[in-house]
Every structure is written in C-alpha cells, then in structure tokens.
C-alpha cells in the first residue's frame, strides 16, 4: 500500500492497517531478523503528517524507554532516558515506533555482520543486507504496509544496504538533520537519513526530521523546504557521471546505470566527469572516522550505564574487563587504529593529513557543482555478497568496498540511492550527489526513475 493512499484513509481504517503492519513486522522478524528490538503498537492513531505510519529507527538512535544498543553488547540492556531529536519529530507527527533496526556495532561495517543480530537480505537469505543500516533496508524492502525507516550514514551506511535491498535511501547534507540523540560513530561524518520504498516516503520523512536544533551545534540553520510537495524536475538537469568510478564497478551495473540515464535524456543533459580525489577519499575517511570513533567509544566503561560487572581491581582493570567483553572485534580494531592515528608523532602523518585531504575532496566537489546539478555514480561496486563470501574477507578489503559511497559522505553532501534493476536477481542501484542543502534536486531526480 502506497503512503499517500494510507494518508487518505479515515482514522479507523488507518488503525487497522497499522495493526496489520505491526503483525507483518513480527513475521518479517522471524524470517529475516531486521530488528534488534520490536515495539508494540499502543493502539493510538494521532494526526500530523504521518497519521500513524509505522517508523523504524536504526538502533543507534535513542528512544526513550525503548532499549537502544547501537548493535553493541556493551549497551545490550541500555534504555535511554530521552528521545533523539528525530524520534521526537516523528512522534509529534503521529508516526508509530515500529522497532529498532539491526546494525553493525556502532555502525562499524559494510555488511551488517559485525553484531549480535544479523539481518538477511530481502532478496536472498544467503546474502547480507549491507551495512551498517542493514536491518532498516531489509525491513523497508519486505514491508508491504506503509513504513518509513530512519537510518544513519557515516560513510555509506544508508546507500549500501538500501541498494543491496532495492529501496531508496537518502543521506541528507551534514547538518540538515539534528544528531541529538544519535549514538556517535564519527561526529563530523554522522548523518541521519531515510529509507523508503517510495520517493514520497523519503521526501515526507525529510520534511519532518530536517531543521535546526539547538541541541546539536552542527545542525544548520537552513530553511526546510516542503519536500513532500516536490515532483519531477521542471527543467532539464545537468548531470555529471563520475566516469572514473567505472573501474571499481562491475561492468553490468555501470552499463545499466548509463542505460537508465540515457533513457531519460529528454530531461537529463548527461556529461562525463572525473573526480581526482576519489582514490584518496577512502583513506582520509577511515582515518578520521576511526580517530573520532576511538574517542567516542571511551565513554563505555561499565561505570554509569551499559554492561556492568562486579568491581574488582582498580578502575583501569575494571574498565579493561568491561571493554574487552563488551566490544566486538571490529570495534576493538577501530579503537586501536583510531588511537594510533592520533598519537603524538603519528597525528601529523595521519589524522591531520586526512583532514587536509577531506578539504581537497570538498573543494573538488564544490568546483564540480559550479557546472552540474547532480553527480551520478553507481551505489556499490557489486551486488550484495553472500554471508560465506564475507566471512573470509580481510578488513582492508571490506573497507575498500565503500569506495563509491565514501566521497559524498566525507564531503557531507546529500546523496540518494535509487534502485535501477536487477543483476543475478539481486537489486542494483545508482546514487546521485547534490550540492549541500540541495536535497530537492535529489528528490526530483528520484521521481524520474520511480515508475520506470
């Protein structure tokens, strides 16, 4: 059922639909495990822009009174005392919390396997859902009733899983949506965004959650457009296809993307462009993300919340015991690397240099947006891999899988992944990047392909 159709129903009918949606979520959970925590429907249907639409939240988004683990054992039984800004906004608009979706621990991963509840791909249970917002993507794909997923991306955690599961995924401009109540992975890169089966769901969700919030000093004071009222573009869009991503992408995906674009050349003016900083963005990203992550994770020590144990020894021994037990391997790896790159003697070589590279990436994008409305590239280098394929993968190879999603994330630019078809019966996607705060262009662009 389409969202618009649902919104037109009377309250009684909406209530029945929402009940069914919650039941459906339970069934999906049994087969695909997209949730860490499932919520119960309280039976109340309120008004507002959502009128009862079930909304799922990635488990790194704090929900008052509902367990929030960020996919980590160290927060296994943590129940936040407050709602994140986005949760408040959804509630104010009559959205119902469907549950908390599975994710790689603290967002550390591209396949959603670095955690204790591992969702399966909506199209093939032997394949990964994608990381880190895997649960959100699988759920979005499987839900037949109206649903919006609030997810989060640091380096591609919306685009990758959305693309693997054939749904839309918007990562807004850094600062467009308040991060208040988002459990930090890397504060200068974290962006809360939306997944939906429909472009309209993306637009409606953004309209609700975007805007300045004094509780997040990095949230931007930029007016929020009526995204839900936008349609297809009313003038020709100038598109730059980032050509040098081709070498990283499976041939069929790249050519299908070109196909889709060409089919719409009445409304798109298509050019090839090169991004010189593409190869460096990956390294810059991982250094900054890990440096910040290693400091964010220091607060988890078993003292005030989260995993606790009998206190033995001095505080150092106690903290170490909790952290050794509570963090998974990938979290530990990122703490170690993240600490290393900011240590005296190495900081200049890694952390400071990575920040400089980020500036270069940002500058190159700004140059490009002088000439283009949007830049387009494939969402992922390949279709969703099988679980048994990723089991053996080396960390550095897994990091390299993010090569296409990292540039817009590192630059803090809004981007949208759009399903463009299938390869080996698995969904593939392309992503469009806009200049900062130009989410409207992405939404218009998305509508072009919606009923293709």
């Amino acid at each position: 059922m389409k969202i618009k159709e649902f919104l037109e129903k009377d309250a009684k009918t909406r209530k029945e639909i929402v009940e069914k949606a919650f039941e459906e979520a339970e069934k999906i959970q049994e087969e695909y495990s997209p949730f860490i925590t499932l919520n119960k429907f309280d039976g109340k249907i309120e008004e507002g822009k959502l009128k009862g639409i079930p909304v799922s939240f990635k488990d790194s988004i704090c929900t008052k009174g509902i367990r929030t683990t960020a996919g980590s054992k160290i927060l296994m039984n943590y129940v936040p005392p407050f709602d994140a800004h986005v949760v408040e906004k959804i509630k104010e608009n009559g959205g119902k919390i469907l549950g908390k979706t599975a994710m790689d621990e603290f967002g550390f991963g591209s396949f959603c396997i670095n955690t204790f509840i591992i969702p399966k791909n909506a199209y093939d249970k032997e394949r990964v859902s994608g990381g880190s917002s895997g649960g959100a993507a699988t759920l979005t794909a499987k839900m037949s009733y109206p649903h919006i997923a609030i997810a989060e991306s640091t380096g591609g955690s919306i685009t990758t899983p959305a693309s693997f599961n054939g749904v839309y995924g918007l990562t807004p401009t850094y600062g467009r949506v308040s991060r208040y109540g988002l459990i930090d992975y890397s504060n200068s890169l974290d962006k809360i965004g939306i997944m939906s089966k429909e472009i309209f769901g993306i637009a409606l969700g953004l309209e609700i959650i975007a805007g300045k919030d004094p509780r997040d000093m990095t949230s931007a004071n930029v007016p929020v457009a009526s995204y839900s009222k936008i349609g297809k573009p009313n003038k020709k869009l100038k598109i730059g296809v980032i050509k040098n991503t081709e070498k990283y992408t499976r041939k069929e995906i790249f050519s299908e993307m070109m196909n889709k674009l060409q089919k719409n050349n009445d409304i798109l003016e298509i050019h090839d462009v090169e991004m010189n900083t593409l190869d460096y963005a990956l390294y810059s990203y991982y250094i900054i993300a890990m440096a910040e992550a290693s400091t964010n994770l220091s607060k988890y020590c078993g003292l005030r919340y989260g995993l606790q144990k009998e206190i033995e020894g001095n505080y150092n021994e106690y903290f170490s015991k909790i952290r050794a037990e509570g963090f998974g391997d990938e979290a530990k790896r990122r703490i170690i690397i993240g600490t290393f790159v900011r240590m005296a003697g190495y900081k200049d070589k890694y952390y400071e240099k990575a920040l400089k590279v980020r500036t270069l990436v940002i500058n190159e994008f700004s140059e490009k947006f002088k000439d283009f409305d949007l830049l387009v590239l494939p969402s992922t280098p390949n279709i969703a891999p099988k679980f048994k394929e990723v089991e053996r993968i080396e960390p550095i190879e897994a990091y390299k899988f993010d090569i296409l999603t990292i540039p817009p994330n590192l630059a803090g630019l809004p981007h949208l992944t759009i399903p463009i078809g299938k390869l080996e019966n698995m969904p593939i996607g392309m992503q469009a990047i806009a200049n900062k705060f130009e989410e409207e262009k992405l939404i218009s662009f998305g509508y072009i392909f919606e009923n293709d």
């Binding site: 943590y78 407050f82 504060n187 000093m217 910040e292 607060k299 003292l303 903290f319």
Partner: protein, 452 residues
C-alpha cells in the same frame, strides 16, 4: 634558584554549566545533572556563550592576546571522574595567550588561558592512597573552568600567594569568579630547583595548601639534592592532612592524550568589535581604580580598598559622590558600614536588594539629619537584607513608658552631659526609633517639673 609555575583552575561564575543547562549551584550530590554532563550515549555539548564572554574578559584582565578564531579539543584519558573519558578543553587554539599580571614590582608572564569543562568531584572515603572506594559527585561535571598557565616566574611560595590573592580579587571584581563556591581555586604547581627535574604537584586546593605544598616541595627537593640524590620528573599529590607530597606516577615519558578536534562544536569566531565591547566592560581594574579614588576624592587607602572590593560598590560610591560632596562621609558609609553589613549577610552589594537610588536617598537623609547616625547604623542592617528602610517610630505611649523608667535618674541638677547620657540609654532601649530632640524636650520637661 627555584622556579615555580602554576596551572590555575578557576570555576567561572556562570549560572549554568559549560555544555548543558544544568545549574552550577546545587545542594545535594548528583542533583544538578543531565545526560550531557553524565556523558550519556547520544548527548551532545551545547556551548554556553556566556562562558566564552567571561573567559575573554579574564584573558583581557591578564593582558593576554585574544584569538578571534578558536575551537575546542578532546583530551582523552581514562579516569572515573571523567564522564566521557575525554575532557572537552582547548589545546591548540586557546582563547588567550601571551599575557602578564604583576605582583608588587614583579611581572609574571601568562603563557595562555583556556576554557574547559570540570570533571566530576571525587570524594575519597579515606586518604587518596587507602580509600577502598570513592564517591563521585557529577554536580561539578561540566562546570566551566578557565585554566591560566603561567611561565615559571615565581621564586617562592609567598609570591605565589600574593599573586593568587590578587588574581582572585580581580576576578571577583569583574564578577568572573565567586569565591564562596567550594573548592573554587585549584592549582597544579610545578616546582623545580637548580640541578633537578621539574616536579608537578597536582590539584592542590586553596591558597594556604598551595603555599604549604610549594614549601614542602622546595624543602624535599633541596634535601634530596644536598644528599646528592637525583630529582626525577614526576607527578605528586599533596596530602592536606599530613602536609606532605606523595609520588603518584613518574613522568619520564610525557602522557599522550591523543588530542583531536572536538567535532560537535563548530569553530568559534569572535570579531574585533566584540572584543572591544568586552574590553570596555572590563574597564578600569581594581588597583587603578583604588588609586584614582584616593587621589580624586581624597579618601584614605583603607576605605578605598574596601570600596573597590566589589565593582558595584565602587560604582555606588562614585554615584553618591556626584550628589553629596562630603566624600569622607560617603566613603565611611559605603566602605565601612555598608561593607560590614554586606559581609555580615555574606552577600555582595549586587546580590542585595538595595538600589543605588535608594542608598543615595538614605545617605542624604543622614546628611540632612532626617535620620540620626546611630539609628542609621541599625537601619542599614535590615536595608541590606530587605532593600527597604524599615523605620518604625515608637508611639508616644511607648516613649513615655520608657522615659518613666528613667524618672528617678532625671534630677533637677542634671547637666547637659547627663541628659545626653539618658537619651542614649532610652534610644538603645527603643532601638533608636525616636527623635533625640523630642526626647530631650520631654526630659527637660520632667527636670523642670522636679525643680518646681
């Protein structure tokens, strides 16, 4: 030669904490806390702009250069009092640098001044070495501190004490600091004597203890050197009860805090106009003002010192001197009687309910003999407390009743001195709530009756 340098921590006089809206004042432990100052997952700092203004004023007071662009850094170390296991501080671009502050004829160079958050308060259940457990009070977590770092320009503890007293006096004058708050001034003291390494005594509280710690260190280090032993670089703790310093950890290798930029707080930019405005607000400093008052109003040094102990008091003095040209009189009433009443009530003039206008009227009434001085001295006590002059005239009956108690003492031979003596006694009995001239008339009437 002995070299002493200080890192002085002063709690800024703000109503709320540095990164959240909790009050800086509280009665019982752990009541002025929230997810931000407890470091809960998902919380973000919200900078208190007032603290920035106060810190800039402190920098200006110390003749520092003020940066027009600065930011915050994360200092990462694990300690139970640190809610996030990192402290938000300033490492690279401090608010002020390169200043000086003089004591007597010596100029102490100020290396830098920066703003940071205070950790929680650790309450030891025994001494620091043998406490089985400690208690934590997070009311202090997130209180804004300025850290003033001096060059090692002191040569003895006496100079340090003079410096700190003047510093506190100045900070209080500018309302940047409130000495009535517990443990408000804390120092890390660096002591080195020729031939030895630098030793740091951490976290000594209060001027007396700071003095004792320095004296002990000088004695300890000199004794060691005289015995031909080496002084190694280390961090020590001052035991207030025993009056000695105790080694905590050797500091052969510099601690690595792995600083990164604080990503949750955007860069702060201050324009020259703002700095000019704050400079004007700082204005004339206490010692300059005292000298001027002595010269301009020909008042004595002692009264002038009392008057400049608080800026509002000095303003009041100059305000009243515009209308009353008996400056000695005004100085006596403000520097002596008013100051004493304020001290008695343990408040500042700015905290009392007395307005400048009302106080001027009060002084005029004394000057014009509408209120006699003795009564005024009583009245000022309640004036400070309530902001009103509560002048209750005794009823005629009451006066008659009291006079009748002295009937026997009023002999026909009573001289002027004797009459005044009785008037004094009567006034005291009725709390000076009567006009002495009226009393005199009444007494003389009795005297005449008796002599008939």
């Amino acid at each position: 030669m002995t070299k002493i340098g200080l890192e002085i921590h002063v709690a800024l006089n703000t109503k709320t904490k540095l990164f959240c809206k909790d009050s800086t004042e509280s009665n019982s432990p752990n009541t002025s806390v929230c997810p931000i100052c407890l470091g809960y997952p998902g919380s973000k700092p919200q900078l208190n702009k007032k603290a920035i203004d106060l810190a800039i004023k402190a920098a200006l007071m110390l003749n520092c250069k003020v940066r027009t662009k600065f930011w915050f850094d994360r200092k990462i170390y694990f300690y139970p009092d640190l809610a996030k296991n990192f402290q938000i501080t300033q490492h690279e671009a401090t608010i002020g640098y390169d200043g000086h502050f003089s004591i007597r004829n010596k100029e102490i160079r100020i290396r830098e001044i920066h703003l940071e958050e205070d950790p929680a308060k650790i309450v030891y259940t025994g001494s620091i070495e043998n406490s089985k457990y400690v208690l934590l009070d997070y009311n202090r977590s997130g209180v804004p501190l300025i850290e003033i770092v001096t060059e090692p320009d002191f040569s003895n503890s006496n100079e340090v004490a003079i410096f700190l007293r003047k510093l506190i006096r100045y900070l209080e004058y500018l309302d940047l600091f409130n000495s009535s708050r517990e443990g408000a001034i804390r120092c890390d003291v660096n002591v080195s004597i020729e031939g030895g390494e630098r030793v740091e005594v951490k976290n000594v509280s209060g001027i007396e203890n700071i003095k004792r710690a320095i004296d002990y260190e000088i004695l300890r280090q000199t004794t060691l050197l005289n015995k031909g032993e080496k002084i190694k670089r280390e961090t020590r703790h001052f035991d207030e009860t025993l009056g000695i310093t105790i080694g905590l950890r050797s500091k052969e290798t510099e601690e690595d805090y792995g600083y990164i930029y604080e990503p949750d707080i955007p860069i702060i930019k201050i324009n020259e106009e703002k700095i000019e405005k704050l400079k004007n607000e700082v204005g004339e400093l206490p010692d300059q003002r005292k000298e001027r008052l002595v010269l301009q109003y020909k008042i004595n040094n002692e009264l002038a010192t009392a008057i400049v102990s608080e800026r509002d008091l000095a303003d009041l003095f100059e305000y009243c001197c515009k209308e009353i040209n008996d400056y000695q009189f005004v100085a006596k009433w403000i520097g002596n009687y008013l100051k004493k009443s304020l001290n008695w009530n343990n408040i500042k003039f700015s905290q009392s309910k007395v307005t400048k206008e009302k106080f001027l009227e009060f002084l005029k009434d004394i000057k014009n003999n509408k209120i006699n001085e003795r009564e005024a001295k009583e009245l000022i006590k309640t004036f400070v407390d309530s902001g009103e002059i509560v002048r209750v005239e005794s009823s005629k009956e009451d006066i008659q009743k009291v006079i009748s108690e002295f009937y026997d003492e009023i002999s026909p031979s009573l001289n002027e001195k004797g009459i005044n003596h009785i008037i004094g006694k009567i006034l005291k009995k009725i709390n000076y709530k009567a006009d002495p001239k009226e009393l005199k008339k009444l007494i003389e009437k009795i005297k005449e009756e008796k002599s008939k």
